[in-house]
Symmetry: C2
Subunit: 335 residues, 2 copies
Amino acid sequence: MVTLKQLAKELGVSISTVSKALNNSEEIGEDTVRRVKELAELYNYKPNKVALSLKNNKTKTIGVIIPNILNRILAKVLFGIETEAAKHGYNIITCISNESLEKEKQSLQLLANGSVDGFILSVAEETQINNEIEHFKKTISQGLPIVMFDRVAHDVMCDKVIVDDFDAMYNATKSLLKEKRKNIVFISNINDLSVGKLRERGYNKAILEHGVQEPLVLKIKRKKDDHQKKIKSFLKKNRTVDAVIAADSSSGVIALNTAINLGLKVPKEFSVIAFASKSDSNHTIPKLTTIRQHAKEIGVSAAQMLIARMQNLPASADVKTKIVKTSIVKNKSTL
Amino acid sequence: MVTLKQLAKELGVSISTVSKALNNSEEIGEDTVRRVKELAELYNYKPNKVALSLKNNKTKTIGVIIPNILNRILAKVLFGIETEAAKHGYNIITCISNESLEKEKQSLQLLANGSVDGFILSVAEETQINNEIEHFKKTISQGLPIVMFDRVAHDVMCDKVIVDDFDAMYNATKSLLKEKRKNIVFISNINDLSVGKLRERGYNKAILEHGVQEPLVLKIKRKKDDHQKKIKSFLKKNRTVDAVIAADSSSGVIALNTAINLGLKVPKEFSVIAFASKSDSNHTIPKLTTIRQHAKEIGVSAAQMLIARMQNLPASADVKTKIVKTSIVKNKSTL
């Protein structure tokens, strides 16, 4: 087995240069990094991970724990974390809590055992319901910083990245009122989640301030209801409805397709706007006007905050909460 | 710090029982596992991961490397792996290669360093294009088994789980021919991937056997083309086309919505069938007939194969390739 010392000798540089180059340190020039890595590869050099982590106490790895891999927003946040981490020479390893408190604890323990320098996570549903926070506090007290995003535990003192769900829905509803829509229905299949409730409140506030109509809400049960049937029969029964604002992409896409199926002219006589992704919007005709969450940016911000924290850059012990603003991307489903 | 020995003494069981219980061994009864874990938790017992892995050479952790977290099928496979691994008391940690050969190598190295007992992975696009396999061979020769799924490297001797892409498309095309469709176009935005090529060949075979039309193929470049425009102008120019078979869900959903937008009656005069998920199909009107990939089952199978391999259950050194069959879910976009 070749050692760092032997590599350094052969390359005519210091041991510390070799070590830093192998860890993608920004102090070392690109050329040197490449030379060091090529020689290390040639000799099949294996850094002793344990020795390394005992010595400099850095793994250059971020642990990410997400509650649900099938959630597209979470997948995109992960993509953002990955992209930003790579820029700074950090690897990420990811565990999935599957919305389970027990799995979340296990994942923290598994990775806290010398594999990572810190965590980025979104809290599991079960953890939120039970209001458990001890495992987070324990991890932080072990010297491993945590950055939480989207679903955060307010009682844990750590950096956080959240979305302005309330304002986003308030502003989107106001944009429909400006189009002179007179009977706007709020449709949601995420009413059991905290973000779903915030979005409904944003809609309510805009409607009540305006004072022309009462709030009109259609709630879909994700696992029980036939989404298409429910929206179709609602729109058939409520012929005066002239706009839909949806808290989730499924409700938005289905409402748009249903309106067209019922012969309504979109956007001339009927508008649709929804929390949705660019790809959702590219699949409908006309293209759906969307409230974008900038999930990638959430991930990028979380990674930046954690990396700064791990490098002790915020000199103070104060914690920060960053709000990533949504934006409305105007397409052809609104005037 | 409390030791295994002290825990064993207090519980009146053997050290090996404590160790096995902490590692969720199936040899130990549930009750004992619970008692051991409770006491370990009480004393805040920390297994020395390195010592453990040196001693019994087992981390009870599976490393998963996936090329792209934004791909829904891959996310579902990951969900299947997670579910099956948890059943057998295995944790999983996941790295994302982002379709990059370099990242894939890094991830293998990162995790091979004592963090996992074996790997489940789908090969990155760049790796496939460069036909690189040395890093896989190296990992296997270090005693860490690999199971590949979906995008596999045929020249690496290891267990594999694949989908019957060729047969799936052959059969789906035949089902359109049975509907007496006379001009079926194959649309794909994944023609640069091996699975995309297999799907095209399945379509070609069915069309050539039938002999009524020539193969008609529309290829979409994922990053360059305006997907909607390209499909719309194609369908406008080719008015005799009476069916679309799509290799990917975006092409399928857009083709269906475009046909309706052009005033075609689906499925009376125009059929659409696509590789897509249940949720894609639930969003269109009429609901899309789909070729389902059973992504979760792919993950479950891969996890089962790897766990068997890690426990040396296949006594022989032979490797297996498991084929997970797709199925056609008939909906209202075909006759």
